[in-house]
Symmetry: C2
Subunit: 350 residues, 2 copies
DNA sequence: TTGTAGGCGTTATCAT
DNA sequence: ATGATAACGCCTACAA
């Protein structure tokens, strides 16, 4: 391994000077020396050892991200957005998949802490975070994403306006003349989900349906669960003419169920879901959905961590970003029927 | 920050002994002392600093993974499988999204090398890997995954039997009585793709179609490209009655195109695709596909890296794993039509 | 069985 | 402007 020493020797100077050149400071270096150093670095193919540097500076230029399930397209897209902004800031991302299990979530947080990451972004799998105390103890900057939590000492939360999204979706269905609107939502111990349900209830006030008696299923965030819930609702409640689904993933399963039950979307059952993942453009009909501002969420979360490093106080704050209804085919709006629109569609999250 | 020193002081012993206890060696510790140390560790909530440890031992217990696009479900599932086995071995995964760009792929490899990861798993975005030389120079264990490469000094490659897969898929379509079978494949500079095309050509020998003249489109690995290619083929070649699509992602776009063009799948156009991602279970009809052995690929790749660390010689090897045809609705086999099968389906990769 | 000390490759301070 | 040198926290060979 080639170290700074070797470079210094070849350039006829001292190791410290090599650092000054490579780090542009904290002290100046004579142009001639600088030149010799740069040349030696090049010749030897020297690359500073970031481990040693981290030990010394207490910075790893690494961020840790824990997601409930990387295989879920929404988290995949969010992770990618986060990685993009982290990369642009010179950071590398450690990734942890909790696979929806608390122990694993915890194990990852510990692993990240042990590796002295500069910050942790956490999308919690459940309503509580076992490692929260540990997190607070070490003083590592962290933010909670996507979901609220009943927890003291959370420095910051970055999420979408879930309630507003649920309301927008449901109101839009009402605008299409639907009055019997069911809801398929995520597990009850995930807070963003109950917010979406509240939005749905808010909007239901304008319909004959009793918000407290309307069909509601709280099931896991995957297609299979969505599929099952839809079959269950539709076989029991014949009057239903629309469903608000709390995630695109679940909506995919719902569409499959509609097909099997001989119901046509949107004619018999209209649908609006939540998230706005790329896959929502590929169903038939295309999925109307509440788009979450993925890129903006990522930007805020990373920015928050980075500033937290520098300044001292770190005021507690909750950042709620607005969502947007994307009306396509599944709600009854015109579908993108001839490839033209479809071809030109930019599906980069805003 | 609490260090080993603090623990030693509280336990009334020396820092070295603390290490011996925590690492189970290399020397024994008297039971009584061990007890006191463990107690002190617990009381202080001490966690060893892995940065310091890494500097000393030259091991980071971290692996780097570079994928072309984490948003592609196949890579997401593969990444997850890799992470699973790495985690089980006590390793944490650094994730790099190349977003299909060579500079970014390169930047990530460099970033991983600088962080002294214990090994790198690389799914190359293109036909060449700029950082290959660097990789060889540092001696960091690495494996190539998913795609072959014309490259000297690649220590190991782990991939599926792409050609066999292409053949299986096409032969199955022929078994359904199809004779005019087009192919939508990945970009030409991605090698696994051309293998799949070769398999398709192999099987075409049993049909009236001239393998060299049969409709073939080589387009990017995303739905939109698949969509466009399908429209293009179907509007030009009226005789086509089946398509072998080189990835599930592209097949999703193909299905959308079929719908828009008024062709029914599988009646008018039968489809078999490649990868076997979870999403292939949710289309209507469900997608017949060549399933890649994701978990096995992950196991082999990680195992290879881990053994490479320990032993010296590291013989060059190419590990080709067999694929499997999953016959569902899109090829003309019975679809999973009433939820029962569907509900019980285990879609965990084998 | 236990304590001491050298060194991993940096960074940054202190003299020169 | 530059050269030496003391940490950073841990591991382990060596001496006691």
């Amino acid at each position: 391994m080639v170290t700074r020493r070797d470079v210094a020797r070849l350039a006829g100077t001292s190791p410290a000077v090599v650092s000054y050149v490579l780090n542009d400071g904290p002290r100046g270096v004579a142009p001639a020396t600088r030149e010799r150093v740069l040349h030696a670095v090049d010749q030897l193919g020297y690359r500073p050892n970031r481990i040693a540097s981290s030990l010394r500076t207490n910075r790893t230029m690494t961020l840790g991200l824990v997601v409930p399930d990387n295989t879920n397209p929404y988290f995949a897209e969010l992770a990618r957005a986060i990685e993009d902004v982290a990369f642009a800031e010179g950071y590398t991302l450690l990734l942890g998949n909790a696979t929806d299990r608390a122990e694993r979530e915890n194990a990852y947080i510990q692993a990240f802490l042990d590796r002295r990451v500069d910050g942790i972004l956490l999308i919690p799998s459940h309503d509580s975070v076992a490692a929260a105390a540990e997190l607070a103890r070490t003083g590592t900057p962290w933010v909670l994403m996507d979901r609220l939590l009943d927890l003291d000492g959370v420095p910051a939360v970055v999420l979408s306006d879930n309630r507003q999204g649920g309301r927008l979706a449901t109101e839009h269905l009402i605008g299409h003349g639907r009055r019997r609107i069911a809801c398929i939502s995520g597990p009850r111990d995930v807070r963003n989900t109950s917010e979406r349900v509240m939005g749905w209830r808010d909007a239901l006030a304008a319909t004959p349906l009793d918000p407290d008696a309307a069909p509601l299923r709280e099931v896991p965030f995957d297609r299979f669960a969505g599929y099952r819930a839809a079959r269950d609702i539709l076989t029991r409640h014949d009057e239903i003419d629309a469903i608000f689904v709390a995630s695109d993933e679940q909506a995919l399963g719902v569409m499959r169920a509609l097909g099997e039950l001989g119901r046509t979307c949107p004619r018999d059952i209209a649908l609006v879901s939540f998230d706005g993942v790329a896959a929502s453009l590929l169903t038939t009909p295309t999925l109307s959905t509440i788009r979450q501002p993925v890129a903006a969420l990522a930007r805020h979360a990373v920015a928050r961590i980075l500033t937290q490093r520098e300044e001292e106080p770190a005021p507690v704050e909750t950042i709620v970003l607005p969502v947007e209804l994307v009306a396509r085919g599944s709600c009854g709006c015109p579908d993108v029927s001839d490839g033209v629109d479809y071809l030109d569609t930019e599906h980069e999250p805003a």
